[in-house]
């Protein structure tokens, strides 16, 4: 649905994006990951036509994106873009009407959303009286109120406590279920695993990793397995081809984490174990996106960056 081809953006003295291409399929959630200053926000701004790329193009449904298309995107900027002195309800009504809803419909939808986020009693509060996370809730509502097909969230989770972050995550998944295509940038790696279908990891203006989330985690697999067996001992011998990382005695028996040699298969491991123990659980531990992130983004670079 949304596609960027070789987008390059140069700022005075530094390259913000160096030939970035991403492809967001319709009806999916696409994550833009990367350390601070990697160029995620720049890319999002280029998609929104807020800034123009030096070269490269942004396509929507195969055609270059126009200002008219942008008016149908729901965009949640990283900074809180709300009138500080305006009341929450008035503001939501105003923005909803600007996005083309009539006042009756706007009021109805805002009512539904305010209830969902449990902020109905904020209607007459001024925005400046709200905390950052509270403002973010209001802003999120105004972004999705007109039910756009394409949604772009820049750091949607910043400023949220864990409870509200879960609430927000569920709402984003709900939007996807309803058919929206979502592009989001985030630091919150836990949410990436649960939310995103595909990701691009941007570091130092370049895409360093791109693809489906499950596939990427598979690619960075460490051949680590979690095994539960009955009994009170776990037998090993030197030529087993795996190392025990952790061993815990539990009421049912023993739980171990083992690291098998590279390129071995789980089949070999199970065959070996099944002869010695009664296995009650066997599971491969895939790396979290956080592990992948840290592994891919060169730690030395990160340090020199900060």
């Amino acid at each position: 649905m949304l596609q960027t081809n070789n987008v390059v953006k140069q700022y005075a003295g530094h390259l913000a994006l160096n030939g970035v291409s991403v492809h967001v399929p319709e009806g999916s959630i696409y994550g833009l990951l990367g350390p601070n200053g990697a160029g995620k926000t720049t890319l999002i701004r280029i998609v929104n036509q807020i800034i123009a790329p030096d070269s490269g193009e942004v396509l929507l449904n195969g055609k270059p994106i126009t200002m008219d298309d942008v008016r149908h995107i729901g965009y949640l900027p990283e900074e809180r873009g709300l009138y500080k002195k305006m009341k929450v309800g008035e503001q939501a009504m105003y923005l909803a009407q600007l996005k083309g809803l009539d006042s009756k419909e706007a009021k109805k939808r805002i009512g539904v959303w305010f209830e969902k986020f449990e902020i109905t009693d904020w209607w007459n509060k001024k925005v400046e009286e709200l905390s950052k996370g509270m403002q973010q809730k209001v802003q999120f509502i105004t972004t999705v109120i007109h039910e756009p097909k394409l949604l772009i969230f820049d750091e949607p989770f910043s400023g949220f406590d864990p409870v509200n972050a879960v609430l927000l995550k569920n709402e984003i998944l709900e939007l996807k279920r309803k058919g929206a295509t979502i592009l989001l940038s985030t630091h919150n790696m836990n949410s990436v695993e649960e939310l995103c279908d595909q990701i691009s990891l941007i570091d130092h203006s370049n895409v360093v990793l791109q693809g489906r989330v499950d596939e990427i985690r598979n690619r960075y697999r460490t051949f680590t397995y979690r095994i539960k067996v009955l009994g009170n001992s776990f037998e090993t011998s030197p030529d087993d081809g795996f190392v025990v990382l952790e061993k815990k005695e539990k009421s049912f028996g023993i739980e171990v984490r083992v690291k098998a040699s590279e390129n071995s298969t789980s089949y070999d491991l199970i065959k070996m174990l099944v002869a010695r123990h009664e296995i009650i659980a066997f599971e491969e531990e895939l790396p979290s996106m956080e592990d992948v992130f840290i592994k891919v983004v060169n730690p030395q670079n990160m340090m020199s960056h900060e």
Partner: protein, 433 residues
């Protein structure tokens, strides 16, 4: 509802509902009325006690000529006045010593006092004595009826200016009053343009720095955003102006009523004394009313609103462009200068034109669109030919369409530009996009 009218409504309601707007709107006329009323009020307050003045008259001719009034009490005094010298407890405010015939030696009169005597007292004394002295002098010529002859020869000129209006009727006019009305409206337009222009600029900057525009430009066109704000604030200005007209009109009416009542006993006192004098103030008031009636206030108000709108639209779009180009208020200075100079120049040109409303400076400045809204106000009470008004207004409208388009170009680019110190060269580039 269309998007631009939504923006206009929001900008308007947001400002009109503010407490500061209400306070400013209602306090300003009260403040102005106070500025007028307080000196008036203070001038009516007199010292409570009459000052006692001892008169040492060696000739004995003058002491009875000095009539006491509510401020001064003249009493004959004989004896040693030196014991009152530097005496805090002294009941005498001053001593008047006359030691010679004032007709022959006019300098034989002296006032002694511990403090500097007021000019009011000096004036009062010489008033009283002058009259008597000149009568005495006239009598000394021994010409019969001389007094009456001289009185008859004193003619008080009262020049009324009458302007022939187009319909042939005479209208009473007053150059002073016209100048005053012109100057007041000039200063008001100047104030309005600055006040509301700056309001537009701050509004644009607020949206830019808080990144609201990033959300807004995804739903509305930048030009709609800019024009919505400018028009919304123009309506705020008109509302304020209308409220001022109504409110100050009412306030002056009330004050006039109060002062009119206060003056009543004074006029009746005069009435008792001198029937001829009583006629005077009334006819002056009537003249004043006639002169005020001579101005076509409806027309002046009409043009005031037109020129306010024209001048405001012209400058507000420029203010909006400046607001969009900078990141913070401190950066506005360099771009404000080219905008403020013509406005300030116009104010001075207007003040200067007040003395010669049909001179070349007034003429040209009331046609040039950057100064015309301010300068034309001075000329309006002096009946400007219709073709000049039409020409000046058309030029103004054409120019504000031009500046609005230029400003929109700068605005479109500037509003989304961050963290860059913008130069004039940069602005020029934006214009050509």
């Amino acid at each position: 509802m269309s998007k631009i009218s939504l923006i206009i409504r929001k900008e308007y309601l947001r400002r009109v509902n503010k407490k500061s707007f209400l306070i400013f709107t209602f306090l300003t006329p009260i403040l102005i009325a106070c500025l007028v009323a307080v000196p008036l009020l203070l001038s009516t307050i007199k010292d409570s006690d009459a000052k006692k003045i001892g008169v040492v008259d060696a000739t004995g001719k003058y002491v009875n000529l000095l009539k006491s009034n509510e401020s001064y009490n003249f009493v004959p005094f004989s004896g040693d006045m030196s014991k009152y010298k530097n005496n805090e407890e002294s009941e005498y405010y001053a001593f008047l010593v006359i030691d010679g015939d004032l007709l022959l030696r006019p300098d034989k009169i002296t006032l002694f006092a511990d403090k500097q005597v007021t000019t009011d007292l000096k004036g009062y004394i010489s008033d009283q004595l002058n009259k008597a002295l000149s009568n005495e002098k006239l009598a000394s010529y021994n010409i019969p009826n001389l007094k009456e002859i001289i009185k008859e020869s004193e003619i008080k000129l009262d020049i009324r200016t009458v302007k022939w209006s187009d319909d042939g009727k005479d209208k009473a006019g007053s150059a002073e009053l016209a100048t005053a009305i012109g100057l007041i409206s000039t200063v008001m337009i100047y104030m309005f343009i600055f006040l509301y222009g700056a309001m537009v600029m701050r509004g644009v900057m607020e949206e830019k720095t808080s990144r609201i525009v990033e959300v807004l430009v995804s739903s509305v066109k930048p030009i709609e955003l800019m024009m919505g704000k400018i028009i919304g604030i123009a309506l705020v200005g008109l509302t304020q102006f209308l409220l001022w007209v109504i409110f100050s009109g009412g306030l002056f009416f009330v004050i006039g009523l109060i002062f009119g009542l206060n003056k009543m006993p004074d006029t009746t006192a005069i009435q008792g004394m001198n029937p001829a004098m009583q006629q005077m103030p009334n006819s002056e008031v009537a003249d004043m009313m006639k002169m005020l009636g001579g101005f076509n206030f409806g027309e002046i108000l009409f043009y005031f609103v037109l020129y306010f709108l024209g001048g405001y639209l012209l400058y507000a779009s420029l203010f909006a462009a400046v607001g969009s180009a900078v990141d913070s208020e401190t950066d506005t200075q360099q771009f404000m200068l080219p905008i403020t100079i013509p406005i300030i120049f116009a104010l001075y040109a207007g003040m200067y034109s007040a003395q010669n409303p049909d001179g070349p400076l007034a003429f040209w400045c009331s046609l040039i669109p950057f100064t015309s809204p301010i300068v034309m106000m001075v000329r309006l009470p002096f009946d400007v030919p219709l073709w000049q008004k039409i020409l000046s207004l058309s030029l103004l409208i054409l120019t504000f369409i031009g500046t609005t388009r230029l400003a929109a170009k700068i605005y479109r680019t500037g509003i989304l530009m961050y963290g860059k110190k913008v130069s004039y060269k940069e602005l020029w580039k934006w214009l050509k996009y």
